[in-house]
């Protein structure tokens, strides 16, 4: 394994067993992330972005969600083989997660200071209360909140401030990997700009690697070095931000995604959305999962799963269109 790689996911399959169906949320997903890099994981609702993050942390809902195949190497260890006890040492300490909704990821009956300090106490990084207290104050100031507010409860903060608290919680143990699941979706644009800038600054300051899950291509362009586009549980295109935004060849889904966003600079009379809907993950189409919506669909697409075609450098497209080239 490459030393540089902090996270290396190989052939991951995750499914949810519900009463009626088996939902195939993540299918044959391979992904790697080097130290200090930011990867943007892009896709629409139900593409499996959050499930991927939860699989990494092994936080899938008990009994329902399970990883059926694949390996997740983090810092050389396969997380899937780890005991629950060892996994607990990693969660919050080496890998931290920022959840989408800041309102529901804070406990309303504890002060924010206690919640930031919890991980520090649990992981035994600081031994006495005083040290923890000092670190909590440090973290609050780092995310731009006055340290006096550590004794306040979540309801006394606005949405943007709560998200800052959540970021402080995630970064308190200086994790090597930060999973940010739509960290700014619940925020207004001006606040979003503040939070993104803060995350970027902190990432550089602490040299943390980050997976940023989002559906907003604008955020990806501003913050990520690498990009992976997800559709129906697999990565259909990945590469450097340069490849995805300026490259010549793209997966038809990526093309459709870009054509769906109204452009601020170019005036278009009509948008060109992708026809149809994302397939039901309990009933995925055969062959390429995008084939029913694809404007370039060929016969082979309906029967065979497309291979991952390397387009030069790190740029990968999973599509039959590029196999001949």
């Amino acid at each position: 394994m490459d030393d540089e790689k902090l996270l290396d996911i190989r052939g991951l399959y995750t499914q949810y067993d519900t009463d009626d169906d088996v939902v195939y949320a993540v299918n044959n997903l391979s992904l790697s992330l080097s130290k200090g890099r930011t990867l943007g994981l892009v896709g629409e609702t139900g593409a499996g972005k959050t499930t991927t993050c939860l699989s990494i942390l092994r936080l899938l809902p008990d009994k329902i969600g399970k990883i059926t195949a694949g390996e997740i190497y983090f810092d050389g260890k396969n997380l899937i083989d780890l005991h629950e006890e060892d996994m607990r040492q990693i969660r919050g300490n080496d890998i931290a997660m920022i959840f989408q909704d800041p309102l529901s990821s804070l406990n309303p009956v504890y002060t924010v200071g206690m919640q930031i300090g919890e991980a520090l106490k649990y992981h035994g990084i600081y031994k006495n209360e005083k040290e923890i207290d000092k670190r909590v104050e440090e973290m609050l100031e780092l995310v731009g909140l006055p340290k006096e507010r550590k004794n306040d409860y979540p309801h006394q903060f606005s949405g943007g401030m709560k998200q800052r608290v959540v970021i402080a919680m995630a970064l308190a143990c200086e994790p090597k990997l930060l999973l940010a699941d739509e960290p700014t979706t619940a925020l207004d644009v001006t606040i979003q700009a503040q939070v993104l800038k803060l995350m970027n600054d902190l990432k550089e300051h602490l040299n943390t690697s980050m997976i940023l899950v989002t559906h907003d291509l604008g955020i990806v362009a501003e913050t990520c070095e690498d990009v992976a586009v997800m559709y129906a549980g697999s990565i259909i295109e990945k590469g450097s931000a340069e490849d995805i935004f300026n490259g010549e060849n793209h997966h038809p889904y990526t093309v459709g995604l870009f054509a769906s966003i109204p452009n601020l600079k170019v005036k278009t009379r009509r948008l060109k959305p992708i026809d149809g809907l994302m397939p039901d993950p309990a009933n995925l189409p055969k062959g390429c999962t995008f084939s029913p919506r694809c404007p370039h669909c060929m016969d082979i697409c309906k029967t065979e799963e497309p291979p991952c075609v390397m387009m030069g450098g790190e740029h990968m497209i999973k599509c039959h269109l590029f196999t001949s080239k």
Partner: protein, 315 residues
């Protein structure tokens, strides 16, 4: 071109235990027939309250709303019922704005039953099918229930329901913000096609500045209940005047690499709309704030024809 709807000093205050909440404060706007006014602002700035007040879902505290030249706040029951046919609303959340216990056909037919426009059930059924066809819902969903449909299709029900009475004016309150981008584009195209076919006027409420640019001819920017800038769409994006509008435009992430480097991120957050201090409400966050900003009400300046801004920088 005549204005279908216009307001004069429209205000809506709510009484709260800690004082008066100024949700909508002194708004003057006009929407011509067949055109779209985009209303932009951050959460809590009074966009939705304005949308509701303008079609009298809630009564205004002060000020007037004229629809086809008549003040809607003086309407009696009968006139109001007629007005309801002319002005409709599409709601933000396609999950909570439709009744889960009614079928698609029942939901779309309900306005016609309430307003007694189609009394014959056969004719009504025909009309429902026609509407479903217009908004792009397959006939097989006629007897389906909302939970069987995804967000995009549910929002199509919302659009069909709003069209059922052939209105002239529709308030669209963040109709696409709960949808994925590819579905969002489908709904935006649908709304624009309908406008062209039926000469509809829209008031399009959103926080997404790229969406509003795409759909509107004219845009109004709101901050804490007040209109701070109003202009034709292209003019607003090429030549934003108010510091808040500039900051808002700067804050949009652009899906291009290296699209912008110098960023003026405004500090702080929106202040409370309860009993706001006199003067400019944006002043506490404004990089150009001066002592004059806090002295009394800020006048609206018409900088160029049809471009109005409320800021002391342009006095």
């Amino acid at each position: 071109m005549s204005d279908l709807i216009y307001t004069e000093g429209l205000k809506k205050y709510f009484k709260t235990p800690s004082g008066m909440l100024h949700a909508v404060d002194d708004i003057n706007l006009r929407i011509p027939e067949g055109k779209t006014l985009g209303v932009v602002g951050e959460s809590g700035c009074g966009k939705s309250t304005l949308g509701r007040t303008i079609i009298r879902l809630i009564n205004a505290t002060e000020g007037k709303v004229y629809f086809e030249g008549q003040d809607i706040n003086t309407f009696d029951k009968k006139q109001l019922k007629h007005f309801r046919k002319e002005a409709q609303m599409i709601f933000q959340d396609p999950y909570s704005s439709i009744n889960p216990r009614m079928s698609v056909a029942q939901i779309i037919a309900e306005p016609m039953i309430v307003c007694k426009t189609e009394k014959d059930s056969k004719a009504r059924e025909h009309k429902v099918k026609e509407l479903m066809d217009i908004v792009g819902l397959a006939p097989r969903f006629y007897n389906a229930y909302p939970h069987e449909l995804d967000g995009g299709r549910r929002q199509r029900i919302g659009v069909a329901r709003a069209l059922a009475l052939n209105p002239k004016f529709i308030v669209c309150d963040e109709p696409v913000s709960a949808l994925d981008v590819s579905i969002q584009a489908q709904i935006l195209n649908l709304l624009m096609d309908l406008q062209e076919e039926r000469n509809l006027a829209y008031m399009f409420i959103t926080h997404d500045l790229s969406v509003v640019k795409h759909i509107s001819q004219r845009i109004m920017v709101m901050y804490l209940g007040e209109c701070i800038e109003q202009s034709e769409t292209d003019e607003l994006y090429e030549n934003p005047l108010h510091p808040y509008t500039k900051a808002l435009l700067d804050a949009i992430p652009i899906p291009e690499i290296g699209a912008k480097k110098q960023q003026n991120i405004i500090k702080g957050e929106v202040k409370s709309p309860i009993d706001p201090a006199p003067g400019c409400r944006f002043a506490p966050r404004c990089p150009y704030a001066k002592p004059e900003c806090l002295e009394g009400k800020i006048r609206e300046i018409e900088v160029s024809p049809n471009h109005k801004v409320s800021c002391v920088l342009y006095y």
